[in-house]
């Protein structure tokens, strides 16, 4: 689910950046560092705007300046039970690896409808029910997130397509 979240970030600036375009630099830095970041809990999709850049503070003994920037960002936190669209990145006998935006979702064999079978002999290998449903690399899938496992700087999820209205689009 997407949220608009207000967050604060401390950016440390080398003295050589102290100058007229410091502000722009701070913003660039913020965008560079934040956008696309995964906290283990959510993904930062986009930094919307700065709420407050705040006053810098020179750190004694190093001369760096520390800025606490408050900003608003669009974040995406995947939830269990959320239905997302994803693209298949690889297909293995054990299951299907997909990417839903930045989130990698694995669909285990158990979570694939039993009529969709592993077909290793085709090129590329695919899961198919020998009818209109073919899942191979690059296929778009609609899946439901079953579980989300937070990591230090990544999120892993498993999903299912074993429900109504889920599966290849």
């Amino acid at each position: 689910m997407f949220f608009l979240k207000e967050e604060a970030k401390v950016i440390t600036l080398h003295p050589s950046y102290f100058g007229p375009n410091m502000r722009e630099y701070l913003i660039t830095r913020l965008n560079e560092e934040e956008e696309g970041r995964c906290t283990g809990d959510h993904f930062v999709i986009c930094v919307m705007d700065m709420v407050d850049i705040g006053e810098g503070r020179v750190i004694p003994s190093s001369g760096h300046a520390e800025y606490t920037i408050k900003y608003r960002a669009i974040i995406w936190k995947p939830f269990r039970g959320e239905t997302v669209d994803a693209i298949v990145t690889s297909v293995k006998p054990t299951g299907i690896f997909t990417l839903a935006g930045p989130l990698s979702v694995f669909i285990a064999r158990k979570n694939i409808p039993s009529d969709i079978k592993w077909e290793p002999n085709t090129v590329p290998p695919q899961y198919t029910d020998h009818a209109d449903q073919v899942i191979e690399k690059g296929t778009s899938l609609r899946l439901k997130i079953l579980g989300v496992k937070p990591d230090v700087a990544a999120i892993n999820a498993i999903g299912t397509i074993k429900e109504d209205y889920l599966g290849p689009l």
Binding site: Y17, F18, R29, R57, T94, G95, K110, V148
Partner: protein, 1017 residues
């Protein structure tokens, strides 16, 4: 079996509430009598129906019960229900006729109510077989037709009901009842318990171990003299309790005399010992089956004695009597290799030999058996698999399959070890499934107890009275778990439940850890599927699906810190031997699976590992194209399988790659650096703030080829000692003179005058000499620093920077600042400070600090501050609170100077005015401070110094005011005489030294100076 009807009536009220209340009420009223009140007609009905049922399915008691009661029940329904009953109880032999008299064993798999059923049956038989038995029934039982009427009514009602509805109702009713009925705790059995009206049970003594024979004898006798014969045996039943009550057997009869009569002359019976009447209360206990051991096929046991003592065995089959078990063992055979072939086979000898040398466990090999023992070997081609008969034992698929008595097996706390279990692995999918589920299900059930439930575990009561409750465990003690109910009406309450009625509850997507004793222990994964109490999870590490019992799982908060064996972790790089490194790809309980640099996979024990290679994150290699690759980069193999992955380890020319999408080898693969190309460098490579990008100054520097903001290394140029004439002060060359030919930091190569050969001499024992006068020149010891003081005063820049200190040392107490800095300033200060300042200087003696402060202010050190702020010294800045340098109030002093030295003013002016001192330090734009230090100082200083001599010389422009008070003219003179007031007593020499007039300074300085300009010979 008669209890079916009874079950209906006695079953928990809530279940029956909605069904046929009229009948219910009616029957409730009758309850107390029902147990024995089976009339003959009813009995006939039942038996007929049961026989029919038996023809179809003999093994499902409860189902039959349902059918019996509703005789017109349709078959479909019945079959469906049978299918639902997934785990059928072991086929129970149908006892009929005379067999029903005997409880052959104490019904291992029967509930106590079945004992009651037997009683009922007996009663029925009685009515059928002999009128004599009628007196065994309570009075009026045979005439009571209430039950029949009730049954008729029921049937009528059933007949009128729509079949489908009826089926549904039945299903609803018995579907639930079934689960309940199987559990001893659920059905209120107290109503089924024997009463005083039932036949009594007498316990009699016999020879220990012969209990069963006695029972058989009784059975035989009853067969010979059945009821109705001339001299019937009136013992209703007889049973024994085997090992539990050795030397006892029990007879059921109405009167003691019947028993005594019936037992007359039975072998092993001790008639002399008194028979005891079992109190009614204790009767149920007699028949209570101690169901301690759940032996299920696939479970693990250990052999108690014999050749296979302590060996692990897998249960192949359990006989229905529960006493004999077919087990599968890994045989210990020597195939006669150790036999003396000439020796006569002597069973005793053989046994002792077996004891002394126990062959190792190995699967049976017919080839080896044929070598020596071909005569003992025969093969039986079975339907499924081929089996071998060897020395009277059967071997199937290499395993010994043997019937053993339960007494000879250890069934509790078996704790199969990994390596033992692996021997039983049948390989392939079958093997894995077999191993895990079976071992978990059976063997470890006994040790479920304490450790598997921990506070906070989500649990579900899946059987027992509180079936269906969902909660979280609060505490556990022994076998009882307290749980806090989280859902339903009881939410919030804390209730106790026995462990065996609980199972852990997981949802799909939960992140769990395997805690049980399976080979998946410590595996982490996410739950993919939950089916009753088996949970399928997807291992984080191997991306494999694992099916496991929920009791062996626990919610895991850990983050992918999978498997660890001691210090070894999955994906660690370990050293196997000097030439081999390997990456751990799997951590089992006792061994590691590793993939070495050549890609071969093997199992090693932790002891076989030399050491763990701590990962070097900064290791660098080059790929095929010569591009740099590092830890964390994604690379792809060019040839072969085109594997790609993220570099986990770099070891010489091998890369260990990790690819999450690869299931085998935990996603690891090994490639050579020369075979890969970079796909992408690690995104998170510490780029940091790119200083060259935004800062124009830096960019320019970068353009000049000097990267970063690092300080330029000191440009030393030629060592100034080279070419100098020196004398050696110490050592074997002491006193000798020579010329320095070469020098470095510590040593100098000196060509001595005497020997004309270059020798290496420590630099610090050399003293420069004037080549002509041979007088010692000071210096030459230090390198950069000590040189400075000897530079002429125009080198004020050096004077400002560190080099001053040695000079201060040389010049006694005088603060070098004054001397090194523009000499012009001194007067300025003195002038600016006028009279009022001087005392201040004198008083606090902080003049040095002032000088220091002067310097340190720019260095950013704080200790200057007090000096500046001490009001006594600098009246002007105390009030303003401004930095003395920055403040305008100081301007008088500087003002004069700045009039002269125009270029210094901007430097100061660049400082933010109006900030207090802290601001000054912390100013976010310390433009003047950190980076540009040399600029700020170096530049103005010479400027200041440049005009100074002028000012000094002609007293001209500035110092008009400045110089007025202290009379500069006087200063030099006094300075040299040292009569100057306190203010100048210390600095005097320095002043002299720094005076631009070398002549004067030489006067002042005792020794001659070693100067740059000094011509060397």
């Amino acid at each position: 079996m008669s209890s079916n009807l009874l079950n209906q009536d006695f079953g928990s009220e809530d279940e029956d509430d909605d069904f046929n209340p009229v009948v219910q009420d009616d029957s409730d009223a009758e309850e107390p009598k029902k147990q024995t009140a089976n009339t003959s007609r009813r009995g006939n009905d039942r038996i007929d129906e049961e026989d029919e049922d038996d023809a179809r399915n003999g093994d499902d008691d409860e189902e039959e019960g349902a059918d019996e009661e509703n005789g017109d029940d349709d078959d479909d329904e019945e079959e469906e229900e049978e299918e639902e009953e997934a785990v059928g109880r072991p086929r129970k032999r149908r006892r009929g006729g005379v067999h029903s008299f005997f409880e052959e064993e104490a019904g291992v798999d029967e509930e106590e109510d079945e004992a009651e059923e037997d009683e009922d049956e007996l009663a029925e038989f009685g009515t059928e077989m002999h009128p004599d038995d009628l007196d065994a029934l309570p009075a009026g039982a045979e005439t009571d037709d209430r039950r029949h009427r009730q049954l008729d009514r029921q049937r009528e009602l059933d007949a009128t009901m729509d079949a489908e509805k009826q089926a549904q109702m039945l299903k609803e009713r018995y579907g639930r009842n079934r689960a309940a009925a199987t559990d001893a705790l659920v059905v209120p059995k107290r109503l089924l318990l024997p009463s005083v009206e039932d036949p009594s049970i007498w316990g009699a003594r016999c020879k220990p171990g012969k209990e069963r024979e006695v029972v058989y004898s009784i059975q035989k006798r009853i067969e010979e003299r059945p009821a109705g014969s001339r001299n019937p045996i009136r013992i209703i039943s007889a049973f024994e309790r085997g090992n539990i009550m050795q030397g006892w057997f029990y007879c059921e009869a109405r009167r003691q005399a019947d028993v005594t009569e019936g037992l007359e002359g039975i072998n092993f019976y001790y008639p002399s010992q008194k028979m005891i009447l079992v109190p009614v209360k204790e009767m149920p206990d007699l028949l209570r089956v101690q169901k301690s051991e759940d032996l299920n096929p696939g479970g693990w046991v250990r052999i108690k004695r014999g050749k296979y003592h302590d060996d692990l065995a897998q249960i192949e089959e359990v006989e229905t009597n529960g006493l004999t078990v077919t087990v599968r063992l890994v045989p210990r055979l020597d195939y006669g290799m150790n036999d003396d072939s000439a020796a006569i086979v002597d069973p005793k000898r053989k046994r002792s030999a077996a004891n002394t040398a126990r062959p190792p466990q190995r699967l049976f090999s017919e080839a080896e058996a044929k070598k020596r023992h071909g005569k003992f070997l025969s093969s039986n081609a079975g339907l499924g698999s081929k089996s071998w008969n060897y020395l009277n034992d059967t071997y199937i698929e290499g395993f010994l399959v043997k019937d053993m008595r339960v007494q000879h097996l250890v069934t509790k706390n078996v704790n199969p070890r990994l390596e033992e279990v692996t021997m039983f692995a049948r390989g392939g999918e079958d093997g894995t499934a077999n191993l895990d589920l079976a071992s978990l299900a059976t063997t470890l059930k006994n040790s479920t107890a304490d450790d598997s439930y921990q506070p906070g575990d989500p649990v579900e009561v899946y059987r027992g009275e509180q079936q269906g409750l969902i909660g979280k465990t609060v505490s556990t003690r022994n076998d009882i778990v307290s749980l806090q109910v989280t859902e339903g009406d009881l939410a919030g309450q804390i209730i106790d439940a026995p462990v065996r009625t609980l199972r852990k509850r997981f949802r799909e997507g939960d992140h769990v850890k395997v805690i049980g004793g399976s080979r998946f222990q410590n595996e982490l994964g996410m739950v993919v599927q939950v089916k009753e109490d088996t949970v399928t999870l997807l291992s984080d590490m191997s991306m494999q699906e694992i099916t496991i019992f929920s009791k062996d799982l626990r919610l895991s908060a850990e983050m992918a810190a999978d498997g660890q064996l001691g210090i070894y972790d999955v994906h660690d790089l370990v050293q196997l031997d000097a030439a081999t490194v390997a990456c751990v790809i799997k951590v089992d309980r006792e061994s590691l699976r590793v993939m070495d640099q050549n890609g071969s996979v093997r199992n090693v024990l932790p002891t076989q590992i030399a050491n763990k290679i701590t990962p070097r994150k900064d290791a660098v290699a080059t790929d095929r194209n010569g591009a740099e690759i590092r830890h964390g980069d994604t690379v792809r193999e060019v040839y072969g399988e085109q594997r790609n992955g993220v570099i986990r380890h770099i070891y010489r020319s091998f890369l260990f790659l990790h690819n999450k999408a690869q299931a085998e080898n935990a996603g690891m693969s090994v490639v050579r650096t020369t075979n890969v190309v970079t796909v992408s460098a690690r995104g998170g490579r510490p780029t940091g703030p790119d200083l060259t990008k935004m800062n124009p100054a830096m960019a320019m520097q970068a353009g000049r080829g000097r990267g970063g903001g690092a300080m330029a290394p000191p440009q030393r140029g030629r060592d100034r000692l080279i070419g100098k004439t020196v004398t050696v002060r110490r050592g074997r060359y002491k006193g000798l003179v020579g010329i320095v030919r070469d020098a470095d930091d510590q040593t100098a190569q000196v060509e001595l005058y005497t020997t004309n050969k270059p020798v290496l001499i420590q630099r610090d024992i050399l003293t420069p000499k004037d080549p002509i006068t041979k007088q010692s020149l000071d210096g030459g010891r230090g390198r950069g620093g000590s040189r400075v003081p000897f530079g002429n005063s125009s080198q004020s820049r050096d004077g400002w920077q560190g080099g001053r200190t040695p000079m201060a040392a040389a010049d006694s107490s005088r603060t070098p600042a004054w001397g090194g800095a523009s000499s012009a300033r001194t007067p300025a200060w003195s002038g600016g400070m006028s009279g009022s300042r001087t005392p201040a200087w004198k008083n606090d003696g902080s003049r040095t600090a002032y000088g220091d402060g002067n310097r340190t202010a720019y260095g950013g050190l704080g200790n200057r501050t007090p000096a500046w702020n001490s009001g006594s010294r600098t009246p002007y800045d105390s009030g303003s609170g401004y930095d003395a340098f920055a403040s305008g109030s100081r301007t008088p002093a500087w003002g004069s100077a700045s009039a002269n030295t125009g270029n210094r003013t901007p430097a100061w002016g660049g400082l933010p005015n109006g900030r207090d001192q802290r601001d000054y330090e912390d100013a976010p734009t310390p433009g003047g401070y950190s980076a540009p230090t040399p600029g700020a100082y170096g530049a103005p200083t010479p400027g200041a110094s440049a005009p100074t001599p002028g000012a000094w010389a002609d007293n001209a422009p500035t110092p008009g005011g400045a110089f007025s008070a202290p009379t500069p003219g006087a200063i030099p003179k006094r300075g040299y005489d040292a009569p100057t007031p306190a203010a100048y007593d210390a600095p005097t020499p320095a002043l002299g030294g720094t005076a631009a007039t070398p002549g004067a300074s030489y006067d002042d300085d005792a020794g001659p100076r070693y100067d740059e300009g000094t011509p060397s010979p």
